[in-house]
């Protein structure tokens, strides 16, 4: 049972803040989306959000039909003993890759911009240790810190945008809807899946939410605010940079570098990198948490605590070997990732839901007949 593995409980509001912070981790991905759909990125984000809402709806239905059950237990219930375990193992691998991608995202960001000649492993080590420490303390600690991180993120982003207003020029968006249709499909797919791709992790977290009734409401609300801020960031970046954005890596980071207020508030982007790191920290922690929890459940362990540091080391080694260059990483994120995330985040849960409802209906009939 999940509830004896993890004692901590989080409130509905905290779930909302966690979802918001989780999506902020994807803010760094906006670079790949902007490259595809240039000036119509905002359209793509809106459509992507609607698709993401649909995926969220699947998650919520699954959570509703199996209250207090984590993803692993749902799989066992739906696919039976053996099938459930195989699919759970698949999910464990998926969480492994998801967390490694995030850690690699962070290390390439830090070594790319903030500290160029620090080896990746050192940064990955410290970062994974901190994530491990947060998980070691349990889910309610992650819930408690989320409000402070949300506050910090929103205040900084608004402050930066305020300073950038004079650089914004809104006819960068002008040639509307002049891109080939496939780009829009690609962009929508990427937005729907990239920041929200990991929402499957929340199936591991739903059993620990105290208020069962409003859980869905808070989950959607967190997603909506997260996407709104994500949209705001992308629109601001494009308004300031225009087509130059497609030539840049780490768009949101570079844009803050343009702030120039009388040589006092210049070159602020290192401060902004703290916010990006916090966002990525939350994404990685949630994925690392669901990874450890799912491993503990698949292997029927008593507590998940001893596994944290071992899996952390495996993650560090993986993040070292996963991509040999940044261009490989960006190619993967732009083209292969949507399908990969799409399968695990949307297709598999949908299948589980369908089978669950079919079996549910059969059982109900079954009980009537007998």
């Amino acid at each position: 049972m999940a509830t004896n593995l993890e004692k901590g409980r989080i409130s509905g509001k905290q779930l909302m803040f966690i979802v918001f912070c989780y999506i902020q981790g994807g803010a760094l991905l906006s670079g790949s989306i902007v490259n595809i759909t240039k000036q119509d990125t905002w359209v793509v984000i809106v459509t992507g959000f609607t698709v993401a809402l649909f995926i969220a709806w699947i998650m919520v239905q699954l959570a509703k039909s199996f209250p207090d059950k984590t993803l692993i237990e749902i799989n066992e219930l739906v696919f039976g003993k053996i099938g459930g375990n195989i699919i759970s193992l698949l999910y464990v691998l998926y969480f492994f890759l998801l967390t490694t991608l995030d850690i690699d995202n962070l290390t390439s960001f830090i070594t790319g911009f903030v500290m160029p000649n620090t080896p990746d492993t050192a940064i990955a080590l410290v970062f994974t240790f901190v994530c491990g420490y947060a998980i070691y303390k349990g889910i309610n600690v992650i819930g408690r810190c989320s409000f402070l991180v949300v506050l910090l993120t929103i205040v900084t982003i608004l402050f930066n945008s305020f300073l950038l207003i004079k650089d914004m020029n809104f006819n960068n968006f002008l040639p509307m809807f002049s891109l080939p249709f496939m780009d829009y499909v690609h962009g929508t797919h990427l937005t729907a899946v990239a920041p929200f791709g990991g929402s499957i992790c929340f199936l591991m977290i739903f059993p620990f939410v105290k208020e069962k009734k409003h859980m869905a409401k808070y989950f959607y609300l967190g997603g909506a605010i997260g996407f709104l801020l994500f949209l705001f960031i992308v629109v601001r970046d494009w308004a300031v940079l225009g087509t130059v954005a497609t030539y840049m890596a780490g768009v949101t980071y570079q844009v803050v570098g343009l702030v120039d207020v009388s040589d006092l508030f210049t070159r602020l982007e290192v401060l902004y990198s703290i916010i990006l790191v916090l966002g990525l920290f939350y994404t990685a922690t949630i994925e690392f948490y669901s990874l450890t929890l799912s491993i503990a459940q698949v292997f029927k362990a008593k507590t998940y605590k001893p596994y944290i540091f071992i899996i952390g080391i495996i993650l560090i080694c993986l993040s070292n070997i996963i991509f040999s260059s940044v261009s490989e990483h960006s190619y993967f994120t732009a083209n292969i990732d949507p399908a990969f995330l799409g399968f695990f985040a949307a297709l598999l849960p949908a299948i589980t839901l369908v089978i669950a409802s079919v079996r549910g209906a059969k059982k109900k009939q079954g009980s009537e007949i007998v």
Binding site: G112, F113, M115, P116, N117, T118, P119, T121, A122, L125, V126, F129, G132, Y133, N171, L174, P175, S178, L241, G242, T243, V244, Y247, Q254, G257, L258, D260, T266, R267, F309
Partner: protein, 394 residues
């Protein structure tokens, strides 16, 4: 109790572990940095090579505090040091500097990048590439083109500042007062460079005078086709360009006035440009400029406070502004470089037709009909209403 000690041990161990491992790769002490304030890149004598001058701020003045060493001391304790190296590409030169300078060059505080005239002539794209790619350069660095050799610009010792590069960057910032120079940062230059049709522009700077009283002066704009220098605009043509780009902040226009001339100060301006493709296929660009200013000074005895005189002045101002804009348009057509960005505006407004217009945009640009409509308002005339002449009876 036993369990918590185990937990504690694990946490301390991990902390130790990651600290010992990390070391401090990326830390560089402040006094181990050669802070670069400006770069100047010139075409070197040998074929295909480039010599680059980096202006490094020299800070150590032997413990004597800064304000006591007045400018009287000899050149030896200059506040800057220009290092020149030659090489095939910017990056190799930068690394090459370490042979000469004891400290590694540190360029986030770089203010200015100046390109020599002859280098600009045969293309600066591949020299810009390093600056765009390096994480140390700021995106709001000024781009300049020298009338002839860029390194001479950095050798001129400014009168008010200690380091020429800072003097230069303040000079560019002050151009707002006369708005006869284009203020281009590396970001704006890049924006124009990557657009297919808009021509990149950069302010021109030259050294005037000899020996001790050499000064640096801004003199018009350099016009690039893609990334090759093709021509120059003088001051009035630059002002015309700025009118179209609605980047005129203030400045003086001298016009005819009843009984002499009058200098009118521009206070605030607003320009809207909309482009049309007329049904007969010809393209027009309608430039609407609204401007408000006040009377700066006046020669002659005309009483400018009368409303009809003011009307005359406003009309003269309209004509003067229109003349400036047309002079800029003529020069642009002569160099057939679309410095106004009309091409982009057409792309934004007519994306489908733009595909066909893009190929022969140069001819199209030549035939473009530019209509200028100026609505100038004179708001005030300063503290005195009539010029200092004995009052005439009405």
């Amino acid at each position: 109790m036993k369990n918590s000690i185990g937990k504690m041990l694990k946490i301390c161990l991990s902390l130790l572990l990651c600290l010992a491992l990390s070391g401090c790769w990326n830390s560089r002490e402040l006094d181990s940095l050669a802070i670069v304030m400006g770069y100047a890149i010139d075409k070197s004598d040998e074929e295909g090579l480039v010599d680059m001058t980096a202006q490094v701020a020299v800070l150590s003045d032997g413990g004597s505090s800064d304000n006591s060493s007045s400018s009287s001391n000899t050149a030896s304790s200059e506040a800057y040091w220009n290092i020149t190296r030659t090489g095939s590409s910017i990056f190799t030169i930068l690394r090459d500097y370490t042979h000469e300078s004891s400290r590694k060059l540190y360029s986030p505080h770089n203010q200015v990048i100046i390109f020599g005239n002859d280098l600009a002539k045969n293309g600066i794209r591949d020299y810009l590439d390093f600056f765009l790619r390096d994480h140390e350069t700021r995106l709001n660095v000024w781009i300049l083109v020298a009338k002839d050799k860029a390194s001479d610009i950095l050798d001129v010792k400014p009168k008010l500042e200690k380091i020429p590069a800072i003097g230069l960057s303040d000079l560019i910032e002050d151009q707002k007062a006369t708005s006869e120079t284009v203020q281009i940062r590396i970001r704006d230059f890049l924006e124009r460079l990557i657009s297919d049709t808009t021509a990149s522009i950069a302010p021109l700077v030259e050294v005037i005078g000899e020996g001790k009283d050499q000064i640096v002066e801004m003199s018009g704009t350099a016009v690039f086709k893609q990334d090759k220098l093709v021509g120059e605009l003088n001051k009035t043509e630059t002002r015309g360009l700025l009118w179209v780009l609605s980047k005129v902040n203030s400045g003086i226009i001298t016009v005819e006035a009843p009984g002499g001339t009058a200098d009118l100060e521009i206070v605030s301006t607003e320009t809207q440009v909309n482009v049309e493709i007329l049904d007969d296929g010809s393209i027009t660009a309608h430039v609407k400029i609204t401007e408000s200013g006040n009377i700066g000074s006046q020669t002659g005895s005309g009483d400018l406070s009368k409303t009809d005189n003011v009307k005359i002045l406003e009309q003269n101002m309209n004509d003067a502004i229109t003349a400036e804009v047309f002079s800029a348009v003529e020069k642009a057509k002569e160099l057939d470089a679309d410095i106004f960005g009309f091409g982009d505006m057409f792309y934004k407004k007519y994306p489908q037709q733009w595909k066909s217009m893009k190929e022969n945009w140069d001819e199209l640009f030549n035939e473009i009909k530019v209509e200028v409509e100026v609505d100038a308002k004179l708001r005030g005339s300063g503290r005195i209403v009539k010029p200092a002449y004995p009052a005439e009876e009405e």
